[in-house]
């Protein structure tokens, strides 16, 4: 599975695009990173890929997953997982039921579904926490539960919106390794936006850096400058 962005730009109604067109190919198991200061439209880019763009934004360019154009699909049909900085577990469901919400319909039967959720909890170090209130989990536990919920839906790509920024340093390293290992395991492309250069370093994939437009910047291509590292790690 490959995620391809071709000349993708997002513009608020009647305004200039938030960033210059982005062209990017994310291969299976790769984590590509988009960096840049807040307010530059990083999250909006993820909204565009996930299909959550608010009314009034126009998307140009094409986004393809495995060669298939995503633009006509509603978010629920794109099968693109989403990870936020603070987990966003459903507050009215227990930890296990959060995972069960995500678990793909292909797992059939009560017992089989329960077992799939228990296995996932186990792998995330959350065994025996099926009935817990998500609000009582620690930050790291919550993030792992959210990742498991996302993976159980069998996504074909993953979007990570500053997924580690709220965790303290030691936890951050653990969770990064945990998340990236799962992405490699599954062989799905992932697109991450972050402030933290260490995130990009650990991800090891293509990095796109969006920088604020400055008066001098206009010479190098306003409104934003784009820099690419590791253009072809192969």
């Amino acid at each position: 599975m490959t995620l391809e962005l071709q000349e993708v730009a997002v513009a608020p109604k009647g305004a200039r695009p938030l960033f210059p067109p982005i062209t990017l190919t994310v291969r299976p198991g790769e984590v590509a990173t988009v960096m840049g200061p807040s307010g530059i439209g990083k999250s909006t880019l993820l909204d565009a890929v996930g299909g959550h763009l608010a009314h009034g934004f126009t998307l140009s360019g094409s986004i393809r997953l495995d060669g298939r154009d995503l633009s006509p699909l509603p978010p629920e049909a794109r099968r693109i997982g989403l990870m936020f900085q603070d987990a966003v577990l459903f507050p009215h469901l227990s930890v296990g039921d959060n995972l069960a919400f995500g678990l793909a319909r292909s797992a059939r039967g009560r017992a089989a579904r329960r077992a799939a959720v228990e296995t996932a909890l186990d792998r995330a170090g959350l065994a025996d926490l099926y009935d817990r209130d998500p609000a009582t989990l620690s930050g790291g536990q919550r993030s792992r539960a959210a990742l498991m919920r996302t993976l159980l839906a069998e996504p074909r790509a993953l979007l990570l919106d500053e997924p580690f920024s709220k965790l303290d340093t030691t936890l951050r390293d653990d969770l990064r390794a945990f998340t990236f290992a799962h992405i490699r395991d599954r062989g799905i492309p992932a697109l991450m936006v972050t402030h933290d250069p260490a995130d990009a370093e650990a991800a090891g994939g293509t990095v796109i850096e969006l920088t604020e437009c400055t008066p001098q910047g206009s010479r190098t291509g306003c409104p934003h400058h784009m820099r690419r590292r590791n253009p072809d790690p192969a």
Partner: protein, 557 residues
């Protein structure tokens, strides 16, 4: 969806106003009047007591509104930051829940010459019989102003508190005070100008309501001549159907009165802006507003005490048997007034419940459909749509209900539950919609996105994520809906053609009778029903979400 609601709201009001307006200028074919003329208006003006009624309406309506705003603002300025939002919410709830009519009856029990206050004073003043004072139904309308204020101050407090939560009050207060301005002055010069745009519409609702209130004016207001709205009700329900024409002309006058009051409000706002700017630029810091704030707080506390005693007196009267003057409590108690449900209160309770459940369910379903429609279109609400929601609360009820009744009569709808449910929903829907809109929009959008990215379609997102997470505000909106439905007097009376007796219509009718025990039963039930609804709205989520910390009251949902 939006179009349906728009038609459901606007069409009946427009059609009702049109019919009333036609009758006001002499065209009401149903009674054989087809000639366009100003005779109805002239007849109206010639009615004995018309000019007094007009004056009373202005004095009570404008007086109650102005007093309520001053008190509510004063209390907010004095108490803000000293009381948690939850505590103040809990304190306000019973006053918001109690219908106007029940509160008015309780206040009448409290204030009348043979009421609780007079009984408490009797030993001191040496009264051996109830004093000959017109403390209720006084010709000046003081009791009516008091009654309206008891109900409007809590409403405005709630509205101002929710507006304040959108403003960095603490920071602005600190900034202002560090520049040498007193607390009260910062409130007037800095905070209120920010609050006003957020509470303008609710203040207009209070203004329109106070100028056209019927049930409270029947119970507490002057009786001869009464306020304009009561005078019109008498004309509309008079045996002489010819009086419907001047009554319709009066309904037009009523509508114009409210429109004029809105115009004055807008002029005052503009003048206030100019004067305020001049005042702010002068930079005066000398004036201390503290005494005013404390006076407002003390007066409001007295009002709240009166309201609480009024509701208590309803309950006590319903269980009283022998209660001679000047005893402070009844000599003997009895369940007799309660023990004969067949005498009418059971049927009235049943009707009230049916109407409350039906109108609330209908309004809630429409509100959720509207909000979900906005979400799916991924856009906010247009200004005109917001105004549309408020429309039924800004037009005087009597102005369009009569015309709507004429229309329903012609369609053969009057007198049935459908007509009453529709008419009540006109007023229930706006409140439900207003109560639900903010919490709905405050829902973390990432929850819905997470559900979507997990493959949940729009319906599954609505039923398994949004509605359960929003259970508390949905039930609160439902409780408000029940309270509004139970309180409806005029729509029930007009659209039910007097055939559908509810607790409110019966309580208002009984309020002029001499048997306070029976009146007490009806008014207690009338106040108890909404309070029970609020209680359920509090208990059900607490029970269902007892193991969900972030959904409990005070949690960050």
């Amino acid at each position: 969806m939006l179009v349906t609601v728009a038609f459901g709201l606007v069409l009946p009001i427009a059609a009702g106003l049109w019919q009333t307006g036609r009758a006001g200028v002499g065209v009401l074919p149903a009674i054989g009047a087809t000639e366009l003329s100003l005779v109805p208006l002239r007849d109206l003006i010639a009615l004995p007591g018309f000019s007094t009624a007009l004056r009373l309406t202005l004095v009570t309506g404008l007086g109650a509104t102005a007093l309520s705003i001053l008190l509510a603002v004063g209390v907010c300025a004095a108490m803000h930051g000293r009381m948690s939002a939850r505590a103040s919410g809990r304190l306000l709830t019973p006053f918001l829940a109690a219908p106007h009519a029940a509160m008015a009856i309780g206040l009448a029990f409290l204030l009348s010459p043979s009421g609780w206050i007079a009984r408490a004073l009797a030993p001191l003043a040496g009264w051996d019989r109830p004093p000959m004072l017109a403390t209720v139904n006084d010709p000046g309308g003081v009791a009516l102003i008091l009654g309206l204020t008891v109900k409007e101050v809590p409403f405005l407090l709630l509205v101002i508190l929710s507006a304040l939560s959108q403003i960095p009050v603490r920071e602005h207060l600190a900034a202002g005070r560090s520049l040498g301005y007193g607390r009260g002055l910062v409130w007037i010069k800095v905070i209120m100008p920010q609050v006003w745009p957020l509470i303008r519409l609710p203040v207009m609702v209070v203004l329109a309501y106070s100028l056209s209130v019927v049930d409270m004016a029947l119970i507490l207001g002057p009786s001869n001549p009464p306020t304009l709205a009561v005078l019109l009700l008498r004309l509309f329900t008079a045996p002489d159907i010819g009086l419907m024409l001047p009554a319709s002309a009066g309904a037009l006058v009523q509508a114009l009165l409210v429109a004029a009051a809105f115009a004055v409000l807008s002029l005052l706002e503009r003048a206030g802006r100019v004067l305020g700017r001049w005042w702010v630029r002068r930079g005066g810091r000398g004036l201390s507003a503290e005494p005013g704030l404390w006076m407002a707080t003390v007066l409001s506390a007295l009002l709240f005490a009166a309201g609480a005693l009024a509701m208590l007196s309803l309950l006590i009267w319903s269980f009283a048997w022998r209660w001679p003057w000047p005893g402070f409590l009844p000599d003997s108690w009895s369940l007799r007034a309660w023990s004969t449900p067949g005498s009418g209160w059971a049927a009235a309770l049943g009707n009230t419940l049916i109407l409350a459940v039906a109108t609330t369910a209908l309004s809630l379903a429409l509100a959720i459909a509207w909000l979900e429609g906005e979400d799916r279109a991924r856009r906010g609400r247009a200004g005109w749509a917001e105004a549309l929601i408020y429309l039924p609360l800004l037009v005087p009820q009597i102005g369009f209900l009569f015309g709507l009744n004429v229309l329903f009569l012609r369609l053969g709808l009057t007198g049935g539950y459908t007509a009453v449910i529709w008419a009540q929903a006109l007023f229930v829907f706006p409140y439900v919609m207003i109560a639900l809109s903010d919490p709905w929009r405050a829902l973390d959008p990432r929850l819905v996105r997470a559900a979507g990215s997990l493959g949940a379609g729009p319906w599954r997102r609505l039923f398994t994520v949004k509605l359960p997470v929003l259970l508390t505000p949905i039930l609160t909106a439902a409780a408000i809906g029940v309270a509004v439905s139970v309180a409806q007097y005029l729509p029930t009376l007009f659209m039910g053609a007097g055939r559908i007796a509810t607790l409110t219509t019966e309580a208002v009718t009984l309020s002029s009778s001499s048997d306070r025990r029976v009146t007490g039963v009806y008014a207690t039930l009338q106040a108890g029903l909404p309070i029970a609804a609020y209680g359920a709205a509090f208990l059900i989520p607490a029970l269902l979400h007892r193991n969900r910390r972030s959904l409990q009251a005070g949690g960050a949902a």
